[in-house]
């Protein structure tokens, strides 16, 4: 089996691992690094449960080889808190009951943060459109949309 060495920064920590070449970024995160907050919900690159930020952009970590992330800065759901405080987007999700089973939640929060980086004050239609790559089966998105608007506001202030 063909192995490669990869090195990257994950949630602010330098990591380097030797993995089979066919290792996906999500497998590196979950299986090698124990960062199980990033989930896998589909195999067609659609559901978004695996979304993480790579160099500041939301990507599907199930559709990226670990090798492609060599040298990158990766931020996962585990890296969002600071000083034990929830990120404003995490806090908004809690306040607005934007999660039920919690499985899609990490990917949702990552996408929301990515959206706000592109649009600091997104309206409802923009939010709904930007969630095209994130499936939730529990909430009907109603509260997720509200939470993202509130989280964006909190991130502005």
């Amino acid at each position: 089996m063909s192995s490669i060495s990869v090195a990257m920064t994950v949630n602010g920590t330098r990591v380097s691992e030797s993995v089979p070449a066919r290792t996906l970024l999500v497998q590196l995160l979950r299986e090698q690094l124990g960062l199980t907050g990033t989930h896998v919900g589909c195999d067609t690159s659609q559901c978004g449960a695996c979304n993480v930020l790579v160099n500041g952009r939301a990507v599907k970590s199930c559709t990226m080889l670990a090798a492609q992330a060599d040298g990158a800065e990766v931020l996962t759901i585990e890296g969002l808190e600071s000083d034990g405080q929830l990120h404003p987007m995490q806090a908004a999700f809690k306040e607005h009951h934007a999660l039920q089973c919690g499985f899609c939640t990490p990917g949702m929060v990552i996408t929301a943060i990515d959206l706000v980086a592109n649009d600091a004050n997104p309206g409802e239609a923009t939010i709904r459109k930007y969630l095209e790559g994130n499936f939730c089966r529990c909430t009907g998105y109603h509260n997720i949309v509200k939470a993202i608007a509130a989280g964006a506001e909190a991130m502005r202030s």
Binding site: R22, T36, G37, T38, L86, L99, G140
Partner: protein, 793 residues
């Protein structure tokens, strides 16, 4: 009300772990020494398995073992059981075919489990799985519900003629036939309740582990009801007694019914872990979920409504053919029969109701309960027919419903299907919903939409469910092999904090918060001093689990009863400590008080005394403050409500947009309005999904699943949906201590009819009377084309 007690929108205690990536879903668990399973699945819908050659696979890199159905049969592994027997109209028993975890000599649907490869990694297991050489002899297959029972249809089971599982009758056929003879008008509607793939975002996972030291098996699994899995899989499939089998369902990423059932993979990994002497983990790919998670719905129905001259409903009659798939999943047989037919009377005074249900086998994935199971199908049929009758008679659909609603003054109300509705004000729900949705202003909105080239429509649906499952004695009479109580253990610790062990598993419902609210209200203990534990058969006394909107009504009631027992025992302890008469001890807000002396003791004081029984009535009372209750409900609960949907249809493309959705629900006592509204949002979305987007289809010739991934199966996305307007009309359940009716399924139960009624309302000016779900752009466009062609003739 305590600040965080019943009725407060407490923010959820479980959220912090999910929001920070610290949840523990089954796939997050890795056991020491774990190996990985890959299941070889049939590519054929129906095929004899002539031979399986495992030699190459067994020799492949990293492979520990390769097993087939013959290996499991040699170990006398049993059949996955069906938990509900239905009796035929002629009194004979339904047909129950075997369901081995790995198919032995024939595969009966695409995705059927045929062989098992266990290797050091999932990738290696999958590599080796391609080396398992299976010689299949493909046979003709039948997948369509309507075709299965036709003469000459391919046979799923040689020993089951015409693919007929059962042909059962429900209700009073003679009375219903008589009602139709008297009718001034009969409305008939043939419709299909489309097939759904449940799609919780977490795929199923199972990890089997065997401890040779004590002979104990552990199964970690994505289940809504770990005790049910222990019971079904242990004694019935693997021959393991319960005390040697622990089933753990940790954080579970949604279920919607599909994680109720006992699946082959659970038995496979549990069995295999002992065979290979290492833990065995299986994680479903999404594409496997499509061909192995039990599907939902899939009924073909003829529904007839008989009305008198005043448009009062005289009788309702349905003939349903329901698809069971290739095997009988755990509760499959009960869904189109008991669960569907029991509520066919709906919210109406219809005196006579009869249903004939034929359940058929097909070469498809087994079909079982999906959110709203049976009741959603019933409501859809009924509310569609009522709308059609209104159109035929030229009566406003609201007015037709109003003439036939059961008045609140008639409660408790015995329906012709032998359910006793305990409470509900169906007219009040409808009136509130009409107001909230501005029904009166609709024609103006329709005219405004028309100027934009949009066809606007409005549709409503009134519903009642039988939920809060359910009285065990009744379920037993109806064929269930299970009891339907729930258990709770309320353990007050020596310094007054509380752990509650509940059989109601939480996989999105928020029990860890809402159950704690109940306990906080009952015992006066702050929320942060209460922990709700669920999902582990070694910790929980017993549990029937979470389905049928039963958690708060049954599980919550069990907690209430256990709390009552704690209070009752606490009063005895308080009476002793205060040297008071027990009858004079009152309990409120966490404090026991003696009305004679005004002395008080806190629950913490009592608990400490119970565990440090120095000043304690040891001669008459055991130490400790730990009470268990098994609550068996005396009746079902009857969540009810009204939904109104408005749609706009792009006349050029046929695309349907839901522009508003209003729900008014009576769930009885609401513990946490925020959480309950969330359940409605999610349930309604699944209904909108079925009505407009989702569709599971098979190719009729090959039996291949043509919607086998999210590339073809449309899961609702954020931009497919509106914001929802949700109101509660709380009329407490009259027969359970908590007053709650349950809220989990209502959204899915009532919404499909509201959406399709709205679509038909929009299209009716073109002469369109009937559409089946899902009303995709293509379906709507075709209907418009056909209507235009018909109009041009």
């Amino acid at each position: 009300m305590a600040d965080n007690g019943i009725g407060a929108s407490v923010r959820r205690v479980e959220d912090d772990r999910f929001l920070t990536g610290r949840g523990t879903f089954t796939d997050d668990i890795d056991r020491p020494g774990q190996s990985h399973a890959w299941i070889v699945r049939s590519p054929h819908a129906n095929a004899k398995i002539k031979s399986i050659d495992i030699a190459k696979a067994a020799a492949a890199e990293g492979v520990l073992a390769v097993f087939t159905g013959a290996d499991m049969a040699a170990d006398e592994v049993g059949s996955l059981p069906c938990g509900w027997d239905i009796t035929n109209r002629d009194g004979s028993a339904m047909k129950t075919p075997p369901h081995p975890p790995l198919a032995v000599d024939q595969a009966r649907h695409v995705g059927d489990q045929v062989a098992l490869v266990i290797a050091e990694s999932r990738a290696l297991a999958r590599d080796a799985a391609e080396l398992v050489a299976i010689d299949y002899e493909p046979l003709a297959a039948v997948t369509a519900t309507a075709a299965a029972n036709k003469p000459g249809a391919p046979q799923v089971w040689d020993e089951i003629p015409d693919n007929l599982c059962y042909d059962s009758g429900w209700g009073d056929e003679a009375a219903t036939d008589a009602a139709f003879k008297q009718a001034a008008h009969v409305t008939t509607l043939e419709l299909i309740n489309s097939r759904i793939i449940p799609n919780p975002i977490e795929p199923r996972v199972a990890i089997g582990e065997y401890d040779a030291g004590n002979g104990k098996h552990t199964l970690y699994t994505t289940s809504q009801n770990p005790h049910v899995i222990r019971l079904l899989m242990g004694p019935f499939v693997l021959g393991l007694a319960e005390h040697k089998l622990r089933v753990v369902a940790p954080d579970v990423g949604g279920g919607f019914g599909s994680k109720i059932f006992h699946y082959a993979e659970e038995a496979i990994v549990t069995w295999a872990a002992k065979k290979v002497g290492r833990p065995v983990k299986w994680t479903a790919e999404r594409s496997e979920a499509f061909v192995s998670d039990a599907h939902g719905r899939d009924h073909v129905t003829t529904a007839e409504l008989a009305l008198d001259r005043g448009a009062k409903f005289l009788g309702f009659r349905v003939r349903i053919t329901a698809n069971m798939g290739a095997y009988l999943s755990t509760f499959s047989t009960s869904v189109p029969s008991f669960f569907c037919t029991s509520v066919l009377g709906g919210v109406y005074t219809t005196p006579a109701v009869y249903a004939q249900i034929k359940a058929v086998f097909t070469n498809t994935v087994p079909v079982d309960a999906y959110r709203g199971a049976g009741r959603a199908e019933a409501n859809y049929q009924l509310e569609r027919v009522v709308d059609k009758a209104a159109r035929e008679l030229g009566i406003d659909p609201v007015e037709l419903r109003r003439r036939n609603l059961i008045p609140s003054s008639a409660m408790p109300y015995m329906t012709p299907m032998a359910l006793e509705y305990d409470s509900g004000d169906f007219a009040a729900n409808m009136d509130a919903c009409l107001k909230a949705a501005d029904y009166a202003g609709f024609e103006q909105r329709r005219a405004a939409a028309a100027k934009q080239g949009k066809l606007r429509g409005i549709g409503l649906s009134v519903y009642v469910e039988a939920a809060g499952l359910g009285p065990s004695h009744l379920a037993g009479k109806l064929g269930a092999h299970a009891g339907l109580y729930e258990s709770a253990e309320v353990r007050v610790h020596p310094t007054g904090s509380v752990t509650v062990f509940t059989g109601s598993h939480s996989h999105g419902q928020g029990h860890e918060t809402t159950f704690a609210q109940v306990v906080s209200e009952q015992l006066g203990v702050p929320l942060e001093s209460i922990e709700i534990v669920h999902g582990d058969t070694d910790l929980i006394p017993f549990g029937m689990g979470t389905f049928g909107s039963r958690s708060i009504a049954v599980g919550g009631s069990a907690i209430m009863v256990a709390c009552d027992k704690v209070i009752a025992k606490g009063k005895k302890i308080a009476a002793h400590m205060l040297e008071a008469e027990e009858a004079n001890i009152a309990f409120a807000d966490g404090v026991f008080s003696d009305s004679a002396s005004n002395q008080t003791l806190t629950l913490g004081d009592i608990a400490l005394s119970a565990y440090v029984p120095h000043n304690y009535p040891l001669d008459s009372l055991e130490p400790g403050l730990d009470e268990t209750a098994f609550y068996d409900p005396p009746n079902f609960t009857y969540p009810n409500g009204c939904f109104i949907c408005e749609v706009e249809i792009d006349e050029e493309t046929g695309a349907v947009a839901v522009v508003s959705f209003t729900a008014v629900d009576d769930f009885g006592t609401v513990i946490n309005p925020m959480v309950v509204a969330g359940q409605v949002h999610g349930g309604v979305t699944q209904g909108i999904g079925q009505a407009l987007l989702e569709n599971c289809t098979y190719d009729g010739d090959s039996g291949q699943l043509t919607t086998g991934s999210y590339m073809d199966y449309t899961l609702p996305r954020a931009d497919d949906l509106p914001t929802f307007a949700v109101e509660h009309n709380e009329i407490p359940c009259a027969h359970n201590p908590i007053g709650a009716k349950g809220c989990g399924e209502a959204g899915a139960t009532g919404s499909t009819a509201a959406v399709i009624n709205a679509v038909i309302n929009a299209l009716a000016p073109l002469g369109i009377e009937q559409l089946d779900m899902p009303a995709t752009p293509h379906v709507v466009w075709r209907a418009m084309q056909a209507a235009k062609a018909a109009a041009a003739e």
